[in-house]
Symmetry: C2
Subunit: 374 residues, 2 copies
Amino acid sequence: MINDIHRAAYATIEIRAAAGDYPVFVGPGLLSRLPVVVSTYAPSERLAVISDDQVGPIHGAAAAEALVEVGHDVTFLTFPEGEGSKTRKSWSMLTDEMLNAGLGRDCTVVAVGGGVTTDLAGFVAATYLRGVPVVQVPTSTLAMIDASVGGKTGIDVRAGKNLVGAFHAPCAVIADTALLTTLDARNRAEGLVEAVKHGAILSEAHFDMIAHSAEALIGADPDTNAACVAASVRLKADVVARDEFEGGLRQVLNFGHTIGHAIEAAAEYEIGHGRAVAFGMIAEARIGERLGVTEVGTTDRLMAALMSLTDGTSLDVDPSEALRFLKADKKVRAGRARYVLLRRIGEVAHDDGWAHDVDDATARVAVTEVLSGW
Amino acid sequence: MINDIHRAAYATIEIRAAAGDYPVFVGPGLLSRLPVVVSTYAPSERLAVISDDQVGPIHGAAAAEALVEVGHDVTFLTFPEGEGSKTRKSWSMLTDEMLNAGLGRDCTVVAVGGGVTTDLAGFVAATYLRGVPVVQVPTSTLAMIDASVGGKTGIDVRAGKNLVGAFHAPCAVIADTALLTTLDARNRAEGLVEAVKHGAILSEAHFDMIAHSAEALIGADPDTNAACVAASVRLKADVVARDEFEGGLRQVLNFGHTIGHAIEAAAEYEIGHGRAVAFGMIAEARIGERLGVTEVGTTDRLMAALMSLTDGTSLDVDPSEALRFLKADKKVRAGRARYVLLRRIGEVAHDDGWAHDVDDATARVAVTEVLSGW
């Protein structure tokens, strides 16, 4: 049974985690294999399928139906689509709905959706009766290559994104690249920004592959997307395996995110995460070039790759506001290095640690500059 | 430095946990060693000391002061005393106060208080920025022998107690038995009910020791209490080491708790946990005797030991209400065995699993009977 999915998958990547290894199955058409994945990796009779109200009626319902068909007792729960749902309130409501349905410690959560769903449902699973298993079924490019690997779960609070959460590794992940066809092109393109990041910090070959296949990727070609997702998952898995709880190396995954998060927060989350990270990567690459750490021309290559994925025109964001968030972030992450700088495309600078201190004036210039467009 | 505390301690018990082993230091006067424990086991510059508003002004403030004196940056937070604070709301408020104080991933939480504090502050630590270290400083008998060992953290929700939470092992535990003098006698006595439970399920010698030293224990004699706490912690630690995440053996710790929790809930938490568990143990011992599983006379020995610790007069609780909670609990814990039954004092019956099914009629008789007093 389970061998079928290995055969059907474009690739299977084994992720090493303290709580137990788990597979990420990548390839078009794999959602239909959900029942056998559940029975192999999380053999629970009772399941909670969690989706948002956009993905729910399509893929969530399909997943639930397939599980009911093979005899599972399924509680199907949805929440309003969007980052605005990644709150303590949604977490409480989903938890209470599961309790009201009488789901016990022997249940499993199946999260079907984008990054908001995988993070939120993951945190519900992490804290439900002190933790129940979760199977992640990411349906967006971003969630497939990023949110579903590494076990991070969490919610946003007033002080910032993802500040409350837990590490809770899934039992298995199914990344069905055929599902990407139901996503709009802008969403697919912006999701690829994180894949570009994986290339920029870890593999020039992957970086070039995305730049050259952008059209097919954005066009939702299932096989090209499977190749891209599999490569990104492999790169990220390798980093996470070496530093699961973010003590050192894992910081490299934050490239573009220090400034990206600040821009996202200053824009009151009205711009997409991918777009914000694109702005962040360009600003941080420029900082690196200016400090003489990053090879000259790296920012240009980044811009060329990102141009086809997201909109680089100026953002209506007050630089001072973004800098205020940078400062708050710095305070919260006190004692930890802040900026990941590239050596060149495919390689991070790490002469003294994986991340660098950058003075406020340099950061201010880079933020102001990038906000005016690239 | 740290050798001093080993010398000063009545006993040091090493607890094995997946996330890392940790010591429980037991003995009078150990609170003064908190700074060296923090610097050895959780070397953070910034600390959040969390207490309730009863323990806070006494032991919490003393702990915070000692830590400030050696140069720590301490954020001192309190919440209203009582089980009513073990809520999502208190958890949110404490988290937000830590965020507002700018505490980063490199901070450590120091929980100073009873079981409510160790559970609540532990859950705050478990989910703050996806988890920061916690040092537990239990100040009640119950928290010393029970809540601080095993890494369980959690909060209550409408559907029941401890239904939301996480396993989050502390870095170190300090059980300073001199602090018990500030507790009222009733509280000390009821806390010992869990120690009686440890004896009942695991060690007749420990059971007898408590029965014979009840007066000194309730009288807050620091050395007798240190001996009792150390023995209970050892017994519990041994169970938890063999089954950290409650897959099997750890269930034995639930003796008395199936019916105890139901009575506690039906009484709307107006009776203490210890008292409720005493009623639960007696009811479950009677069930065992009736089913021919438990040695005849066991319930009598239990009653004799518990009599000096808590009030056995009838409870103004509707048996049907308690049975309703039993049923709800059964539903939530579907698929898991329900009643731990003794073979005799010091030994659990485990012919087919660590817990047993009991028919509703037998449970109803036992609950009704025990509620009328013992």
